[in-house]
Assembly symmetry: C2
Homo-oligomer: 183 residues x 2
């Protein structure tokens, strides 16, 4: 798929068909993930491919328990409907104080790589700087060692919804030249 | 350009030809940036397109002054050679405690959108959670209001280097199934 079309056509998907996604397809997408840039080329990523219902339930329970009131419309239950949840982790020993940045750049490739293959996903955080309990509980649930930080939870599945086109802010309003606020 | 090829072919570029990049091309790339996902669809992004040498110099000076010893090989002087520096900012009022995540997802689209158009870039952070002075000084240099956080500095220019293919960790080593460390 063309790059611009992939970026423009990607939407957040939370409803999935009951269809298993083969490991080979997941690995293709993770191959793209590791092509992301990383601080000092540390390539600090590790990806956990979660498929079992019990494991998914634990992740959902952790996410929901820490879900703030204003985000209750975005509870995590839908993760149970995804064939796979990819957990993006970053090795703190190889990420030079840039765990979140490194994790996000790989996650972005996963979202795009999934969409280019007809799969749906949505960005979910596994990490909150001011609430370390989220990452800590996910770490325990997935037996992630201390030196790794889980950064993102990315479900993968065949979309069972087709979101309406998104209204976007006009480009003019969100671009300044040279200094903030200068057209 | 094909999505997979764009992701696989993108490399971090720090040497640029002396060639101005037209605003129309920059805006095309920023149009892709705003198609990134955002927390609760807040679309909190603002992009500042820096072209003047004096402004670039201030950004370089700030980045270099805060550059840690272990990253001295990656000083920011090369930014002066880029036609444009895009500063990705995020409105804290619309990003639901997810400033860095929202900024990074837009930045990833800029890196890919640039490469798909034959331009080079490299990810540079404008933000460090435990060192707020970096963002604060960039904010002052670019007259960014208090409610906005600068997240990334992304140079854009025609590449004047062609980095060697990158050695990557084997996929097998960086993927686990179900739990960390399980093949």
């Amino acid at each position: 798929m063309n790059m611009d079309e992939t970026i423009r056509g990607r939407r957040s998907i939370r409803k999935f068909r009951k269809e298993e996604i083969a490991d080979s397809l997941v690995h293709e997408i993770l191959d793209l993930a590791r092509h992301a840039p990383s601080s000092m080329n540390g390539q600090p990523w590790h990806f956990i491919v979660v498929r079992e219902k019990e494991t998914k339930k634990r992740l959902v329970e952790i996410k929901n328990r820490h879900c703030p009131i204003e985000k209750q419309a975005y509870r995590a239950d839908f993760l149970l409907g995804a064939s796979v949840i990819v957990v993006v982790c970053v090795d703190k020993r190889e990420s030079y104080d840039r765990e979140i940045e490194n994790g996000l750049l790989a996650a972005a490739n996963i979202l795009l790589g999934a969409h280019a293959r007809g799969l749906g996903s949505v960005y979910m955080s596994a990490h909150k700087a001011d609430e370390p309990a989220v990452a800590e509980e996910i770490r325990q649930a997935l037996r992630i060692p201390e030196h790794m930080d889980p950064i993102s939870l990315l479900p993968l599945g065949r979309p069972a919804e087709r979101p309406e086109p998104k209204e976007m802010k006009p480009l003019k309003e969100i671009i300044s030249h040279e200094f903030f606020g200068r057209e």
